[in-house]
Amino acid sequence: MAEPFLELRNIHKHFSGVHALNDVSLSIRPGEIHCLAGENGSGKSTLIKVIAGVYPPDSGTIEINGKSFAKLTPIESLEQGIQVIYQDFSLFRNLTVAENLALNSQLREGRKLVNWKQVRRIAREALDRLGIDIDLSAELDSLPVSGKQLVAIAKALMFDARMIIMDEPTTALTGREVDRLFSIVRAIQCQNIAVLFVSHKMREMLEISERITIIRNGLKVAEGPTSEFNESTITTYMTGREHTCQRFTFTPPPAGTPPRLEVENLGVPGKLSGISFSLAPGEIVGVTGLLGSGRTCLALSLFGLTPKHTGRVLIDGRPVPLTSIQEAIAAGIAYVPEDRLTEGLFLSQSINRNLLAAVFERISRFLVIDKAQNDSLARSMILDLQIATPSGKNPVSSLSGGNQQRVVLGRWLLTNARLLVLNGPTVGVDVGSKAEIHAMVRALALEHGLGVVMISDDLPELVQNANRILVMHRGRLVSEIEAARTDEDALSDLLKTLA
C-alpha cells in the first residue's frame, strides 16, 4: 500500500462553543478518489478549510507528503499541491476562458504587459490536459455551469496539483454532465492525483469513489472502502436515523371532478410549444428534463411570468388569464422558486411578514392592513405547519432550513392556493430536511387536495413522490410515465437517450 498523500490525525476545531470537528482523522493516498459525506452543518466544509489551510486546527496533526505541519497556511497548502474547487468556482465571471486560465501564471511571472499569444497557449495546454474543448475567447459567464466547472478543474490542474478537493461538484449538473465529470475525475486519477469528493448524493458517491468517510456533527462516524456501503447505510450514518422510503400513492377523486389543472397547447415563442397535460386534485406530477429543456419556463408560464404565451390554462375547469403574477396568484397558483433563500424568503423580516407577504393586499382596506386578521392568520399558520418558533415576530432567519421551507409553503396556503408549482424543492437540502419537505408536500396533496407540479433533477425524488412523471425536451413534452411503473435507472436511461 502506498504511503498516504494526506494524513489528518485527531483534528479538533471549536468555533465559539461549537465543536465543529471532534477528533477527526482522514487519510488519502495518491491517486485515490475519496468521498467525504455528511449533512449540511456536519463539519464537511470546516474539514476542507482545515486541509486548505484556511482554519488552523485547535489540536491534531496534518501530514502532507510525509511532511508534518502544526499550522498549515493557505500558501503552504497550495505549495503542497492541494487545490480546492469551491462551489462558486472562484473564477472571474466577466473574463474569457483564456484569461481565467492564464492570468494567474502571467501575474506570477510579474509581467507588466500581457502577452496574449502566450495567454492563449497556456490556456490551450491546460484544456488539452483534460482532453476538453471549450472556446477560449468565450466569456466565462456565457458558459453553462458544467463548462465553468471544467475551466475551474483545468485551472486547478495547472499548478502541479497532487490533490483536488471538489465541494459538491454535481449540484447544478445534469445526468450527462455528471457522467462527463466522472470520466474527467478518473482521468485525473490516472495522473496519480488524489480527488476528495465532497457530496451528499448517495448514488454519485457509490459510483465514483473508492473510499468513503462520513462525518456527522463533527464526528467521524464511518470510514471504509465504498464496497462496504450502500444507499441506506450511508443515509443512516449521515442522519443517525433510519429512513423508510415509501412511494406516494394517489387515490383519484370521484369521476366527474374537473381536473385541478389543465394545460392546453401552451407555447412560448422559442421556448415551449404544444404543452398539454392535466392533473387532478391531490395529484403530484413530476416534471424532469435536461437543463434547457424548458421545464423552468413551463413553471414560470404557469405563474404568469411569460405574458406572451399561446394556448390555454384552466384551473378547476375555468380558464384563467396568466399575464401577470397577480393573476396567477388570484387563480390559486403558487410557485416555490428553485432558490428559496434568494427568491423565496425575506431573511431580515419577521416570520409573520414572510408568511403574509402574498396576502397583505387581501387583508388591507384602503391600504391599511387589518391588524387583527394579520395576527390571527399568521398565528394559525404557525400552529398548522408546526413552525418551531416562540414568536412570529422573530426574523425568519432564526429558523432552521426545514422550518424556513414551511414558511414558504405556508405563504401559499394562506393565498388558498390550489396548484403548487415546486421548482427543485430540495436542491441543496440535506437528507434529513429533504424527507421532511417530501412529507409536507405529500400531506398538502393528500389533506388539502392541492395539485402539485414538482420540477426536479433528482430522479429518485420524483419516483418516490410523484404519481406521474412528465419528461420535457427542447420545449416539448416527450413522454409521460406512471411513477409506479418506472425507477430511477429507467428514467435516467431515457434522459440519456435525449441528450
Binding site: 465559539s16 405563474f303 403574477i325 397577480q326 396567477a328 396568484i329 410557485y335 422558486p337 434568494t342 427568491e343 423565496g344 424568503l345 425575506f346 431573511l347 431580515s348 423580516q349 411578514r353 407577504a357 402574498a358 397583505f360 393586499e361 388591507s364 391600504l367 391599511v368 392592513i369 391588524k371 416562540p390 414568536s391 415576530k393 422573530n394 426574523p395 432564526s398 405563504r411
Partner: protein
C-alpha cells in the same frame, strides 16, 4: 432569541437616546446659562423640522435600497415656484386677508404638486427605465436646481405673503408651527410604514426584491409610490424652508442633502433596504441639532462645526459597525 432580537432593535434607539442625553448633559454643563435657555430650544424647534422631514424622505427612499439625492433640489424648486407665483399674482395689488389666504393655499398646492411631479419623474426613471436610483436622482437634482436658477435668475426670490412666513415662523397654541407640521408628518409616515400595505411592501421589497416579485407584490408600482412620497415630503420641507427665510433661493439648504443621508443611516435605516424607523431618524436629528446649537453657543467657527458634525456622524457609524460585528460573532 425573541428577547434578544427585541433588545437589538431597541438597542439602536436606546443608543441614540443615550447619545442625545450625553450631548444634552455635556452642553448643559459647559454652557448652562445659554444652552438651557428656553429661547435656545425654541430656535431648535424652528430649525430642525425641515432637516427632519428631508431625513424622513431620505429614509423612505432607502427602504427599497434606493436613495433620493434630489430632495433639496425639489424643496428649493417648490419654494421658488411658489414665490414666483406670489410675486406675479400679487404685484401691485392690495388684497384682502381672505384672498391672501386663498392664494397661499394655492401656493401650497402648487409646491406640493411640484413634489409629486418630481417624485413621478424619479420614479419613472428608476422603475420604468431601470436607472440606478443614485444616478437617476443625481441627474434630476441637477435638473431641478438648474430650473431653479433659470426661474430665479440667481438671487433669492422675495415677496412672500405673511401667511407663508407664518408656516415657517408662526406659533399654534404656543408651539412652533414647523414643529406641528413635523409631528403630523412623522406620525403619518410612521403609520404608513408600520400599518399599511405600502409601508410593509416597501420593507419586503427592500429585504429581497426578487422574493417580492415571486410573492406577487407589485414592486415597480410600490417603488414608484415611494419616490412620489419622497418628493411630496421634500416639497413640504421646501415650504417650511422658504417660509422660515421668507425667501427662496436655488442654493438654500445645500448642506442638508448629505446630512439627510447620514441622519437617515444614523437613525437605523439600512441603506441596503428593508429597515427604517421614523422614531430613529427623529432622535438622530434632535441629537445633531442639540450638538450644533451647543457649538454655536460656544462660538465655534462655522467651519469647525461642519467638521465636528461630520466626525460625530462617522463616529456613530463606526460604533454601530463594531456593535453589529460583535453581535454577529456571538
Amino acid at each position: 432569541m425573541n428577547v434578544k432580537r427585541f433588545a437589538n432593535v431597541d438597542n439602536n434607539i436606546l443608543q441614540l437616546l443615550a447619545v442625545t442625553a450625553l450631548v444634552f448633559a455635556t452642553m448643559s454643563i459647559l454652557e448652562p446659562g445659554k444652552f438651557l435657555r428656553y429661547y435656545n430650544f425654541e430656535s431648535i424647534f424652528y430649525t430642525f423640522p425641515e432637516l427632519g422631514i428631508l431625513s424622513i424622505a431620505m429614509m423612505i427612499s432607502m427602504l427599497t435600497g434606493g436613495i433620493d439625492l434630489s430632495v433639496v433640489g425639489v424643496a428649493n424648486l417648490s419654494g421658488i415656484l411658489a414665490g414666483v407665483f406670489f410675486v406675479n399674482l400679487t404685484k401691485g395689488q392690495t388684497l384682502s386677508p381672505e384672498a391672501m389666504l386663498l392664494y397661499v393655499l394655492a401656493g401650497i398646492l402648487l409646491a406640493l404638486s411640484v413634489g409629486i411631479m418630481a417624485g413621478a419623474i424619479n420614479g419613472f426613471l428608476i422603475t420604468k427605465l431601470r436607472i440606478t436610483p443614485i444616478l437617476a436622482t443625481m441627474g434630476t437634482a441637477q435638473l431641478f436646481t438648474g430650473i431653479c436658477l433659470v426661474i430665479s435668475g440667481g438671487p433669492a426670490i422675495v415677496g412672500f405673503p405673511a401667511y407663508w412666513a407664518f408656516i415657517g415662523n408662526g406659533k399654534v397654541l404656543g408651539v412652533a408651527f414647523p414643529l406641528v407640521i413635523f409631528v403630523f408628518v412623522a406620525a403619518g409616515v410612521a403609520f404608513l410604514l408600520g400599518r399599511t400595505l405600502i409601508g410593509v411592501n416597501l420593507m419586503l421589497i427592500g429585504a429581497n426584491p426578487k422574493a417580492a416579485v415571486f410573492a406577487g407584490i407589485r414592486t415597480a408600482r410600490m417603488v414608484f409610490v415611494s419616490y412620489l412620497l419622497t418628493g411630496v415630503l421634500a416639497s413640504i420641507a421646501g415650504i417650511i424652508l422658504s417660509g422660515r427665510a421668507n425667501a427662496a433661493k436655488s442654493d438654500y439648504g445645500a448642506s442638508y442633502l448629505l446630512q439627510a443621508v447620514l441622519i437617515s443611516v444614523l437613525g437605523g435605516t439600512n441603506p441596503a433596504g428593508g429597515f427604517g424607523s421614523v422614531l430613529g431618524v427623529t432622535i438622530a436629528v434632535i441629537a445633531l441639532m442639540l450638538l450644533s446649537s451647543g457649538f454655536q453657543i460656544m462660538r465655534f467657527s462655522n467651519h469647525l462645526i461642519d467638521f465636528i458634525w461630520g466626525a460625530f456622524l462617522l463616529l456613530i457609524m463606526v460604533v454601530n459597525y463594531y456593535n453589529n460585528t460583535k453581535r454577529q460573532n456571538q
